[in-house]
Symmetry: C2
Subunit: 493 residues, 2 copies
Amino acid sequence: TELEDAITLPSQRKGDRDQFLEDIFRMIMEEVVQKGTDASGKVCDWLDPEDLKNTLDLELKSNGESSRSLLDHCRDIIRYSVKTGHPRFFNQLFAGLDCHALAGRMITEALNTSQATYETAPVFVLMEEVVLKKLRQLIGWQTGDGIFCPGGSISNMYAMNLARYHLFPESKQKGMKELPRLAVFTSSECHYSVMKGAAFLGIGTDSVFVVQADNRGKMIPEELEKRIQGAKSQGAVPFLVSATCGTTVLGSFDPISEIADLCKKHGTWLHVDAAWGGSALLSQHHRHLLNGIERADSVAWNPHKMLMAGLQCSALLLKDTTGLMKKCHSASASYLFQTDKFYDLSYDTGDKSIQCGRRVDCLKLWLMWKANGTEELEKRVNKAFTLTRFLIEEIKKRDGFRLLMEPEFINLCFWFIPPSLRGMPESADYWEKLRKVAPTIKERMVRKGSMMVGYQPNGDNVNFFRQIVINPELTEGDMTFFLDEIERLGVDL
Amino acid sequence: TELEDAITLPSQRKGDRDQFLEDIFRMIMEEVVQKGTDASGKVCDWLDPEDLKNTLDLELKSNGESSRSLLDHCRDIIRYSVKTGHPRFFNQLFAGLDCHALAGRMITEALNTSQATYETAPVFVLMEEVVLKKLRQLIGWQTGDGIFCPGGSISNMYAMNLARYHLFPESKQKGMKELPRLAVFTSSECHYSVMKGAAFLGIGTDSVFVVQADNRGKMIPEELEKRIQGAKSQGAVPFLVSATCGTTVLGSFDPISEIADLCKKHGTWLHVDAAWGGSALLSQHHRHLLNGIERADSVAWNPHKMLMAGLQCSALLLKDTTGLMKKCHSASASYLFQTDKFYDLSYDTGDKSIQCGRRVDCLKLWLMWKANGTEELEKRVNKAFTLTRFLIEEIKKRDGFRLLMEPEFINLCFWFIPPSLRGMPESADYWEKLRKVAPTIKERMVRKGSMMVGYQPNGDNVNFFRQIVINPELTEGDMTFFLDEIERLGVDL
Ligand SMILES: Cc1ncc(COP(=O)(O)O)c(C=O)c1O
Ligand SMILES: Cc1ncc(COP(=O)(O)O)c(C=O)c1O
């Protein structure tokens, strides 16, 4: 009967297979690429979790379903998913839909291979190197190393592990137990992955020394020095400073040059988390925000954010030319990295990674870059700044909008002061009422499906909106719509 | 001039955008889905790295290129990439091309969202939970927890971190420094990610106690007990046993029940790395290989391998119902996991992860499952065993093929003994010569493009082939071709 299975298993009929893929592609074009990016449609068709569960038929059963029924499911999946390419999606640090990046992603999925060896990914091993080199050049490095990681959080963790290994190569074998206590430094505005990394890597969150940021969200170098000295006096070894270029909420840039001086003085690895802000390097006009980045030992940069490459696309870039990453991460598995292969083994780059199978994350960025050229990408970056500037000027003209601060980057943080609070004294009660405004407006916009924008409290500041414009298709009209819509949604508050 | 940028930046013309995507889709259908899975084409069009560099125009320039030129690049990229869906691709623990999984991947890429919150991925948050539940049920758990990770290596690292946190919750804050020395146990046939994990998590590879495997590659429980006692006598705390179900090279299954008894006795977390072998759980006939798996604390299972979901699709499954994963990994970032949202916050599952942005990895598996039903997937699994069995019987009939052992699973490990070595005494010289056979045949098949299959040494065994049949489209004819082709390529050796 086993052999019978082998004989009777119906193969995917080629015609059915091709037709199904055609139908899905057609649906993607109509529902996601066309309607999903059209301002006249909804950015989301919201259902509360329990209602959505009842609406979708998610259960996995014994029997398969017809193509027709599968297509219906797919239509529902698309319908109730958020349209992140929609012109009113401002909710995350990614947005928009670049057709070349999407094409690269589709090819990636069709070829479905792993980046581990040249043998299984000849084109992509070479391509990854070209893309990483280009990113390094924008940092100002003519040589170096790098790898694409599954997201910026993991890129930051790579940096942490490399810094540890650099100072204490024995840590790979011996672990943390035999090392002195280590100390990481980062600002209060850092991304939470620094904390997650310290926990995951066995360093512990208590060993993350949080350095005060100034009122614009930038790490204060003098405070860093104090913290380094404080850690030393506790017997800890400062092994890593993680500076942030483009903080998640405020979009602030830590002063790299001053921080680099301190790292030099104290023999500390300098990592720059430019997951968000790195793309400003493409702009001649704005790259000064990252002045000094070439002095970093490592940089994390996510083209899946501002450059719209698509999730996941995160590069960890290293200045190192001594093969540190390979030494730090290699396990030399003999079934994958055979030493008697017939080609140059230096192309088997997979052992630099902590992964084994590794998705191809370079093609989508590469194809988008080929299509636009560096110049067009630069214009996109500039445009995001320009539209943000336009919004700022608009906000200043309108009643009821209050900037948290003048942004350096494209994180536009502001409160909407509803009519009932305008002109009121800023008492505890005022702030308590204001705290509730953003969540209320957010709920209304999501239920209406007109827009999505994030809000959060930060430090002493109660809930405020964080507006992010990435999508280069947007116009000043879209910016005006954004402000008008907030006003409409909050008019009775 | 900045504002000018904003105004003059040409938007993607919608017609051009749609046409480019159409052209790419057409190319994918023809070159990858159709020709790429047709046995009459090559599995790879091999060029050595330097030649491939010269053939492809990979450089990223200032100016963008025309659609025509981009399409030419894409055609080259596809041409020189390995066709992992080709019926002669046996090189990795993944293969084949499932049209429903591919459709799911295309929708995922078009929707391009992050699994972090219900707000940005309402459908996929619910879907992930349904898929994880299904996988847990196949393990034998009616409740529990889980998450999709970027690959099995990282799933294994999650398990290691969870086991550590479970025993020493203070480790999250305090790190390894304040803990007793920890000890991990795994067999000599384990996947190398256990080593990578111990290094990355600050435990250190010296704290991985490698337990001897028997001559069929299975962990020997008595040896495990000795190693646990040995570690204890050195003052180390045994916190994790990582058993492997479906080892990477030999496809062996560690005896879970006996190992679970020992884990119970010593208060140790039991992780089962079923990244490769987990899919056997779908088969009523073969699931006994994993008997006892329901006693594990955590299981890693990669549907991107035997189930053909497509890279990356790896589930970490937990028996825990106390929210351990969230406690262990959460950082409660206030910009993402606001506590004053208008929907049930238990659906914001992202803080269970060590990532922030997280790809949607569930849809491809879900859609394939919906299309086939559990029954058809079971048949596929059975078919892979059957075709392997067919090959074994063929091999036994032929001169010049020698099995390393009778496989339990679908890893068919064998030597090809070329004519010149047949019947020779098995001296050191014999083995030295045999060692070179697999690399030579591999080089020839790759240069010819007729086939791809992996080889490796393992323990005392010199280079042998590891044949893996996953693709349910294959027939006995394809199996015969495989053996014939090895004979053809090695006839003069
Ligand atoms: C500054 C910063 N670093 C790192 C990350 C993490 O990137 P990812 O979501 O790819 O893990 C983010 C994400 O928003 C970020 O803003
Ligand atoms: C037994 C086993 N565990 C874990 C892994 C790692 O999985 P991934 O390649 O998804 O990291 C593999 C990969 O081959 C494996 O064979």
